[in-house]
């Protein structure tokens, strides 16, 4: 499987964020998008997720499920965690497992994988920023999707959680997945850098 973009140009609010951008990501590989604030790291992820439309250029996926779009085969982990404060951790995750469809894994096992079992019955509104992030990461595990689009995935995570997350990413890559991550810090696993918008 190979995800590639050619000659991408992105406009936000009439202003050009980047132009002439090429990237490639193959199965089993991590592409780390690095660059200064405002360089368009998030915009690139949202272009891939089909949440933004490129002004120019194309994004293609070779070797995926030809019946589905790139977005339908991708998990997107954004700044916002898509979890409802009024629902418990288990309810939130069960909803996403059912909504994302396919053959969902057991939500309890996913919660255990990110070390949130002790908070499973707690409303998500009571979680700390790091715990909420871990809950979002658990969502990536509920339904198997080959492409992971991660926006600052390690933000707010403590060192132990970063190691757990690195393990989960390694597992995903080993089963033929690919990861595109926008990041400022190290991801904890070997990654190929894609630099946009000059030096940091």
């Amino acid at each position: 499987m190979r995800l590639s973009g050619r000659n991408l140009r992105c406009l936000r609010g009439g202003r050009e964020v980047f132009a002439g951008l090429d990237f490639d990501a193959a199965a089993g590989e991590v592409v780390a998008i690095v660059g200064p604030n405002g360089a368009g790291k998030t915009s690139l992820l949202r272009l891939i997720a089909d949440l933004l439309t490129p002004a120019e250029g194309t994004i293609t996926l070779e070797g995926g499920d030809s019946e589905m779009t790139v977005a339908e085969q991708a998990h997107y982990l954004g700044h916002r965690d898509a979890m409802k404060p009024a629902l418990t951790v288990t309810e939130n995750l069960t909803f996403w497992a059912e909504f994302l469809g396919g053959a969902p894994a057991d939500p309890a096992a996913c919660i255990a994988a990110v070390g949130l079992s002790h908070a499973a019955a707690l409303p998500a509104g009571f979680l700390s920023a790091g715990q909420r992030r871990r809950l979002s990461i658990a969502r990536l595990l509920t339904v198997r999707r080959p492409i992971w689009l991660l926006d600052e995935p390690t933000a707010a995570l403590d060192l132990a959680s970063q190691r757990v997350f690195a393990g989960l990413m390694t597992e995903h890559l080993a089963t033929g997945g690919l990861i595109v991550a926008a990041t400022h810090g190290p991801l904890g696993i070997p990654a190929r850098e894609l630099r946009i918008g000059g030096e940091t």
Binding site: Y76, G78, D81, E98
Partner: protein, 222 residues
């Protein structure tokens, strides 16, 4: 179907939890109706004559009150991004969300109507008529209101804009809803004529609403 079922269950669950919209709508409805006799005075005949209109206005405003969070809540916490990326057609998602909103916020208004009818000196049959027209008409309010909610999704304080956008669209529903109730009470004309038109308005908005809301969500996203 299980996907939409999951969405409906989640939305209803959020609405009935602390801070959800279901109870707030009913309380607002109660407040509006209770204030009316104080403003109009203790003329029982006048209250009975204006009763259906007051109940309908109260229900209309109460359903608007919670409608602005329909998509904004999902937009603010990033759920909307994931919903847009999913395989489920956005039109069906919109329809499911509106249905959930109606079940959580619209049905309690209808259930509360008989109690509030007492405060307005409406007798049993009249209250029943108003409840029946609300049952037929509130889906139209929710499904046309959804279009406004989808348009206002990216705005920070879209609630007021929502009211300005949606209230003109709900005028036909209001006219025929109140007309059907009055006809049922006064009994000079056939009840079925305005009631059929009310049902038709609801059915039309059930079809148009999801498509219009989905189109404006897709267009407005950035």
């Amino acid at each position: 179907m299980s996907v939409l079922g999951a969405l409906i269950r989640r939305d209803i669950r959020i609405a009935v939890r602390v801070g959800g919209g279901a109870l707030i709508g009913v309380l607002f409805f109660l407040t509006v109706v209770v204030l009316m006799p104080f403003a109009l005075g203790p003329d029982l005949a006048l209250l009975a004559r204006l009763g259906p209109a007051i109940l309908w206005l109260g229900a209309l405003l109460a359903s608007l009150l919670t409608l602005d969070r329909l998509f904004t809540a999902d937009h603010d916490d990033g759920s909307l991004d994931l919903i847009l990326m999913s395989r489920t057609p956005l039109e069906l998602v919109c329809a499911a969300k509106a249905l959930a909103h109606w079940l959580a916020a619209g049905v309690p208004l209808i259930v509360a109507t008989p109690v509030l009818g007492l405060l307005l000196n409406l007798d049993g049959p009249a209250t029943l008529a108003v409840a029946l027209t609300l049952l037929a008409g509130t889906p139209a309010l929710t499904f046309t209101g959804m279009i406004g909610a989808a348009l206002a999704v990216t705005l920070q304080r879209g609630g007021l804009l929502l009211a300005v956008l949606v209230l003109p669209l709900s005028i036909p529903v209001l006219i025929f809803g109140v007309a059907a109730s009055n006809v049922a009470i006064a009994g000079q004309l056939s009840f079925s004529t305005p009631f059929s038109i009310l049902c038709a308005l609801s059915l039309a908005s059930l079809v148009i609403g999801p498509f219009a809301a989905a189109a404006s969500l897709r267009h407005g996203l950035d």
